[in-house]
Subunit: 577 residues, 2 copies
């Protein structure tokens, strides 16, 4: 197997041998210290050991196991402690913070590795018969709380899908590929590239997330401006539900009533297990140009993005950082990168002369893809717009530097957690006319709320994923922890951001899913009747509620549940035998 | 009101003062006679009179009416006989044939014209309390059997939505418009044009169909290649259901679980009444070029369409006629049109020299839209492809002739029905790799099946609505009627086409909905578990089944139901008091 299912470290992002290397990003820590009011470098180096984890005894139903064992190989079933910890959570702040405090109450009792749809059907049948809970698991990268066990009263099994990783067929003529859902991003792209094709889906989690996870959460890749969100790419799907296999036809569009593809997309594991999908794929683009620009202020950058949409010359990817996110990006840059030019005093002088004020300057990253002629036409048209909006191009070097480190960013959090700093993100989408207000108001309430916890706030935002009607706003925030109240502090701040989205007409998430972290805002987002419809689908396909309970269907007190999930910080007694 | 809700004639397509004028299309009838083996011109001119209609006595629940009357104006409620006949059916063959035989068993007992969402809520509340059936009615143009009353045991009310016709708000910056669902196509475009905007949705039924109808049936406009199908344009929706108002947020994209917009889209009136939608709109294109081309054979035309998709230079509209549909189109052309050039002997000679054989030649219609520079680039790129595939351009005159008559085509059917000829259409979509087989096989079985009924077959096809992964195939067929067995003959043939779609991997319809006409193939199309999911949504939002019963949820004997619906040809006794 080219890509064995290597696990991420349980205490943070990435493989165990990968981490944020401060030496590669020498400006980062000084920047963080300065903006977060940190005065010391004296943080103990933690060694993460499984021994620190208090893992509940597994709840084991032997009759459930007896149904699996005759058909599955021993390597497909495990209750190994480390495996259980790895499958306990995703990578949200609440997840990592608890694991780092030795708490793995969300751990499943067992992990099963299906190798075929038959195996999945077998697991669902056995689970339905024995009232066992199943949680589909892809790469484990989710940060919205989609993976934690929410029901301590029943046996819980994590279905790790990563052995179902094959591209089954490619129809080059029709630009479709039939793909098993457990394939990880790099593996998928490698298999497709043998056919000269690409899915064009590159989320920040690309290295550690799977096709099935993308579909179940309505993921977006960096190049969604060109290739669409994952829901735009799904042509047909197979999903094993407790009621049988739901499957749709490989047709580009239909008028066959309610589109049942869209019942599977975004279902977050609550209806069944997505085993396979036929996806729209593309020829690998002949050329690619990554370019960076500086705008004298955020508003000009937004105007430029909007104008590209109006003139239908959007790049494949665009990411406009606000001034604080720009400062973070510059601080993050490797010393040998094209970015270093920016730091050069010559360039600084040039920018000052041109009216760029450091505190307001915004960095925009773009990528253009396609046939050389079309690419160059589009790039020229977009650059003319950027220039009109006051931008200065930084040349290809800076862009390539971004390319080289684009999947490194999530490692920052672990580095800062080690230094008693909480960071997290909340992202949303809104229409163009609402972007300025949503941005300003959310930034304001977010900073104020952090301030209320007695520490200096840091908040930045980038706008990306442009559509005709609007775009995504992605807020990143960080602050020193209140010792002993880290989780409460996080919840107070996170709640403020999410409530700001909903109060200001935006959605609870553009591409991170509902999970547990956004569940209190679901009913306001899709309306109570919309929620009732989702509940009806659940009732129809999973009447015994064995599939990933606790998601998509808020209780009568969702905010209270949310504020207390995992608190107080101790392993749930209920899980102990 | 600029657009009062004028009804279509009950016995055919279009307003009462509009019909197919043979004098405008002098070649058409000779062509039809020749291909259908018709030897006479001696068909009696029928005058359609309401007196010929056997209309069941209305079933009236006075307590239901008592709930409406205090809040609605007298003009909003009617049981006028002609209104009832007009609201009895859509415009499918089975619909028209029965009406022309005096049968209006599908007629509602009452028609209510809501003027606000409050009125709709009132009607649903009253209907739920009194177990009255509601059928939402837009323009009445549906040809898949979405409008006929299927339940004779309960009072049935048609909710004619056309008084809810306002564009409520346009957000030019965000390219969105908030629109009441009952607005007809021309009215909508006129209101949007005051803001310089267009929806870009121009189905063949444009003059006589509404926004709500488009959304409820997953409609496609001619320019879907550029603007998408209606489901791609819906940003947010409001739908009144028996359980309350489902509403979604005006955001470009989201990751808020199952996308409940897609529960409303395609719901065909079975879950509630769509009262309002926020739609993606566009600047009115600065230029538009309609162009026609002749391809020496169908395969070359398909290749050209595929290549335009590959190179991302699709026209806004493309319609490739197969040889028979080409012959029909040429026969349909007005004598003064640009098409007349084609008939000129000079041009004929030119084509012969170039290797065009009349029986294999295919006509392609295209429209390019946008800013002049982008339009001309796209047109040039596409024309280079067309040329490479052997096409000859016919100049702008032929294209403009198509534009002038583009909404006239549906009138042909009435003209032919008057002459004892049945015509109908079945359309589908499939992936590119499957198009040649699906086309050849379906045409073959369709012709054979018509032949089996003892008459000469006519069948043509056009390919349109291109997507990255495939396109729509639209079959038109016609034949002399077997006197006394017209409906059985139609069903035998229609069944063969639909079964061919499903047997060959295609879908039951690309943009005409399921209704009653395609219901026997729904389970094969979306899988039984998919059907179960749809059924669960219905159960959740309309537990008493008052909304448009008989759609989307096949009985245990769907084909038997289908083969007997409306047969034998007599008014249903059950409907009589």
């Amino acid at each position: 197997m080219a890509y064995e299912a290597r696990h991420m470290k349980w205490w943070g992002w990435g493989y165990e041998d990968a981490e944020f290397r401060a030496s590669r990003h020498p400006d980062f820590w000084p920047y963080a210290k300065s903006v977060l009011d940190i005065e010391t470098d004296d943080f103990p180096r933690r060694e993460w050991s499984m021994e620190s984890i208090e893992l509940p005894e597994p709840r084991t139903d032997e009759r459930f196991l007896a149904k699996l064992r005759p058909s599955l190989a021993p390597s497909q079933i495990t209750d190994d402690a480390k495996e259980r910890v790895i499958h306990a959570y995703g990578k949200g702040f609440r997840d990592l913070f608890r694991l780092r405090h030795g708490i793995a109450a969300g751990a499943p009792d067992l992990i099963v590795y299906p190798e075929s749809e038959r195996d999945v059907c077998l697991a669902l049948r056995a689970a339905a018969e024995r009232d066992v809970v199943l949680i589909p698991f892809g790469g484990g990268s989710n940060i919205a709380g989609c993976l934690e066990r929410m029901d301590a009263t029943r046996m819980c099994v994590s279905l790790d899908m990563r052995r179902m990783r094959r591209v089954l067929a490619v129809d080059r003529r029709s630009f479709t590929a039939q793909i098993e859902a457990g394939v990880l991003g790099p593996d998928l792209e490698e298999q497709l590239s043998a056919h000269g094709m690409t899915l064009g889906h590159f989320p920040d989690s690309f290295l550690h997330s799977t096709l099935g996870g993308w579909i179940a959460t309505r993921s977006a890749g960096m190049q969604s401006d060109k290739y669409g969100k994952i829901e735009d790419m799904v042509i047909a799907v197979r999903m094993v539900t407790p009621e049988g296999v739901l499957q749709t036809r490989v047709v580009p569009k239909s008028s066959n009533g309610i589109d049942v593809n869209h019942l599977c997309i975004g279902s977050e594991g609550t209806l069944g297990v997505i085993t396979e999908a036929t996806m729209r794929v593309h020829d690998i683009p002949e050329s690619r140009q990554v370019r960076c620009y500086l705008f004298p202020e955020f508003e000009g950058g937004i105007e430029a993005m909007h104008e590209c949409v109006s003139q239908e010359c959007m790049p494949a990817m665009v990411r406009l950082n606000d001034p604080d996110k720009t400062a973070l990006s510059l601080a993050f840059r490797p010393p040998s990168s094209g970015f270093s030019k920016i730091a050069g005093s010559l360039f600084k002088t040039y920018l000052r002369v041109k009216g760029f004020a450091q505190p307001r300057t915004c960095l925009m990253l773009t990528a253009f893809e396609g046939r050389p002629r079309e690419l160059s036409r589009r790039l020229q048209q977009a650059e003319a717009i950027y220039k009109k909006c006051g931008a200065v191009g930084l040349g290809a070097g800076a862009g390539n530097s971004f390319e080289a480190t684009k999947y490194d960013f999530p490692h920052i959090r672990d580095f800062l957690l080690d230094r008693n700093v909480t960071t997290d993100v909340s992202e949303t989408a809104t229409v163009w006319s609402n972007i300025p207000t949503l941005y300003k108001d959310t930034t304001k309430v977010l900073r104020a709320e952090i301030g209320k916890t007695g520490v200096r706030p840091w908040a930045g935002c980038h706008i990306s994923h442009t559509y005709m009607c609007g775009a995504s706003l992605y807020f990143t925030f960080g602050f020193r922890q209140q010792p002993g109240h880290e989780l409460e502090q996080y919840l107070q701040i996170k709640r403020t951001v999410q409530q700001s989205f909903i109060d200001r007409g935006a959605t609870l998430s553009h591409h991170h899913a509902v999970g547990t972290e956004h569940l209190p805002w679901l009913s306001a987002d899709i309306s109570p009747v919309g929620g009732q419809a989702v509940s009806a689908i659940k009732q129809g396909l999973d009447p015994a509620n064995i599939m990933n309970p606790g998601r998509l269907l808020p209780s009568s007190t969702p905010l209270e549940d949310w504020l207390t999930l995992g608190l107080p910080l101790r392993p749930a007694e209920a899980l102990k035998k």
